[in-house]
Symmetry: C2
């Protein structure tokens, strides 16, 4: 089933990692059981599950899923062959609430990760509007899902607009285009009048949702399919307004296509709008961090039953790569306290105090390596554990422990021992007072990762 | 690298899903780049990473990981070909603190999942003690990792003790054994004296840790390797004592082997000790829910550098299957409130109130299907959403909403509308009071999944 949904379905098997069924001994070539493939996305298998368990699942069926997917393609920056995808889908939906919610969810996720409003944007288009353009140009929109057709070539030309500009896209709508590397891509072979129609569509500026709808109305509103597409966009606009997401957060953009063949209606992608440069000053682009859309015919391919569905995905690895641009990486650990092993013969005491701290809700690690105290402090600093509990015979004989607080040092990008006198970073506590003393220092950030806020406020853990 | 660690290394490729490298066109048979395999466990690849990044990783390197692993074997109850494994490892450790911690962690996990103490048990052995038995019987323990050897056959016989009993194991130590299905397994071909020595070892009763050590001392304490193994067990016992885990939680058991060839020292498994029967009254066994051990030579195979390491894994799918035996499945959803869509033309109001509730920290879902109110209540019941917010024109014209609380019905295993008068389960609230009113009802269980405690206390959400 998979090959049919792939962006380049002209090359069967391209893009996937095939896997021969080890249980099939001697089977005829073409036996549907002969080959498996590593999971290409989470949506095709969701559709299969929804078809198979249609009568047991709640309606609508909404689920999120995190898992590895595999793409057999050239790896690059933020483009791995095996990566972790976060996927959210609503299957069996009515109207376009769920479409608006998927876009709003992407905004919520980016903002929860502290990417400020204005630094990201969700861009929405509708495959039906794209079909309207094709109809207006006298092409067959019925083969929208068939990416090997002329239609497919037009969509790919539109999809590449951002990378190759209007001139490049115009070449791809015509006979073809040779890129800087000398590679030649055959074009869609439209005639000049058709090219003009598509290009005027590409000139619709992305942005304010109702303005885009009005511009599209003039270009494709006279086609049945285009009109339906614009009406759907207007409905999504209303829902987004009610949810509280304006055109800065979620814009309409006539050039969004999305590669996958199974989309049937609204399609979305999320990008970073903030500009970043690499070390040599060249702008750094991540491509889209979020993508999704409507796939009202996907479940039908498995069960024959029409089921409306919409979803979106985020590539976690690429997102993490992008987040580094916003915030320098600071070591951080779930552990709040490291119990140092100062004198090996007292190991039972260290294990006991570890147990006591854990019972009190303090995330505690006991050092399990073979380094000396210096190495243990270095270990805590490298991991971002903000407190180290130190106790040898000198302390334990007096029923006290030493607690050392490590603070973030921007100089070497790790935690370090602070030296300035105004902020004591090591103190002695009676054993009986260790838990309340640590609770007091950890209190404001106990719910989050302690060291993170410690780092951000430049040395205290009180943020 | 993988094949060497597999339980049945006599059959190369057995147990794994091989995958031909799609980038290798014409390569010689045996080219190490020609074949990949789907990940068999999370430990072998961790060892590779630790070898490759030895100088960048903290020492010790402790990490947990959750991911899919694949086993090409006969599927069965709680035995899937692709399953989710939770894995925890400490690499570069000193002494046996980390071994004790892995076992204690398994206890903590089972208890956090409300499997009571006494209903599970972690069982610990040491491969060095097993090697001692082999030495005592005049066999070569050097080939402990080589599972195709006579040694391997002895270990497999010991490993099967629980399933086939002492008599069956004795047959496997000798010429071989025919099982009920008629299949014949070739044995280890020990002579009668050797068999007797191994059998007396198998007779050591599992349980109280120091008693097991004493019994083992009498049997294998005279071998160098056996003595080291027993000393290690005694150290683990001391650490477990300091952590607060007695022999009921973590027992010693001379018959624990663990299948994987890379273990070098202590090995652990965790089982349910509580007896469960299936519908026809037959005892139901899950095999082990947790397994792990020491693998001091695994990193070395990749880097040549000796690195001590220990870890353990839990098969999540099997664990979930087992948890169903302790607690009937109750539908539960992260969503606490479903906003019903009563009149479609008021959709913006429903989206707005959804937004308001979410902003107030209440997990809220807006109904996105096409069902009537009855279908929407059924949807909430099926998913386990405890509150449904209902508002049509009749309510909104008066600035009020109806809130319906669903309670767990043991009769049909879902949430339902309660009817008893003493506990009102539907009430009217002014719109301005909806958030505080819901907060009040959700308060005691806001941190956990509301409906879960709702179900356990038979109808109220106050637990």
């Amino acid at each position: 089933m998979l090959g049919k949904f792939l962006p380049e379905s002209g090359q069967p098997g391209a893009g996937i990692f095939p896997l021969r069924n080890p249980d099939v001994g001697e089977c005829q070539p073409g036996d549907p059981e002969e080959w498996f493939a590593l999971r290409y996305d989470l949506t095709a298998s969701l559709a299969r599950v929804c078809a198979q368990y249609a009568h047991e699942l709640p309606k609508p069926f909404r689920r999120y899923q995190v898992g590895t997917v595999w793409r057999h393609e050239k790896p690059g920056l933020g483009r791995l062959r095996a990566f972790t995808q976060f996927d959210v889908d609503s299957v069996g939906v009515h109207g376009l609430i769920a479409d608006a919610e998927v876009c709003a969810l992407a905004c919520d996720i980016f903002e929860a990760l502290e990417i400020p409003r204005g630094d990201y944007q969700i861009r929405v288009n509708n495959r039906k509007v794209l079909a309207g353009v094709l109809v207006a140009a006298g092409l067959d929109p019925g083969s929208l899902a068939d990416t090997s057709s002329q239609t497919g070539a037009v969509l790919r030309a539109i999809d590449k607009l951002d990378r190759i500009g209007l001139e490049g896209a115009t070449e791809l709508l015509g006979k073809g285009r040779r890129d800087e590397s000398g590679d030649y891509t055959k074009g869609a072979c439209l005639d000049p009048k058709q090219i003009e129609q598509v290009v005027s569509f590409l000139r619709v500026p992305r942005g304010e949702r109702l303005s885009v709808c009005e511009a599209l109305d003039r270009l494709v509103g006279h086609t049945d399919i285009g009109k339906v597409g614009i009406d759907e966009l207007r409905e999504i606009d209303r829902h987004l307004g009610a949810i509280g997401r304006d055109s800065e957060d979620v814009a309409f953009d006539a050039t969004v296509v999305r590669g996958l063949g199974y989309y049937t209606g609204p399609v979305f992608e999320g990008v970073l709008t903030k500009q970043f440069c690499d070390e040599s000053g060249r702008p750094r682009s991540f491509g889209s961090l979020f993508g999704g859309g409507r796939y009202d015919e996907l479940v039908e391919r498995f069960s024959g039953e029409k089921v409306r569905a919409v979803g979106g995905s985020i590539g976690i690895d690429r997102l993490l790569e992008a987040l580094k641009l916003f915030e320098p990486e600071v070591p951080s650990s779930a552990a709040q306290v490291l119990v140092a092993v100062v004198e090996r013969e007292r190991i039972s005491w260290y294990l006991g105090v570890t147990r006591t701290l854990r019972s009190a809700g303090i995330n505690t690690e006991i050092y399990s390596g073979d380094g000396n105290l210096r190495a243990q402090l270095k270990y805590a600093a490298k991991l971002g554990i903000p407190f180290v509990l130190i106790a040898g015979g000198r302390e334990l004989d007096r029923d006290v422990v030493q607690v050392k607080q490590l603070v973030y040092s921007a100089r070497n990008g790790t935690l370090a021992q602070a030296s300035h006198a105004e902020q004591p970073t090591q103190w002695e506590a009676p054993i009986s007072r260790v838990v309340p003393a640590l609770h007091e220092r950890l209190a404001p950030s106990r719910e989050s990762v302690g060291v993170w806020s410690c780092a951000r406020t430049g040395g205290t853990n009180q943020a």
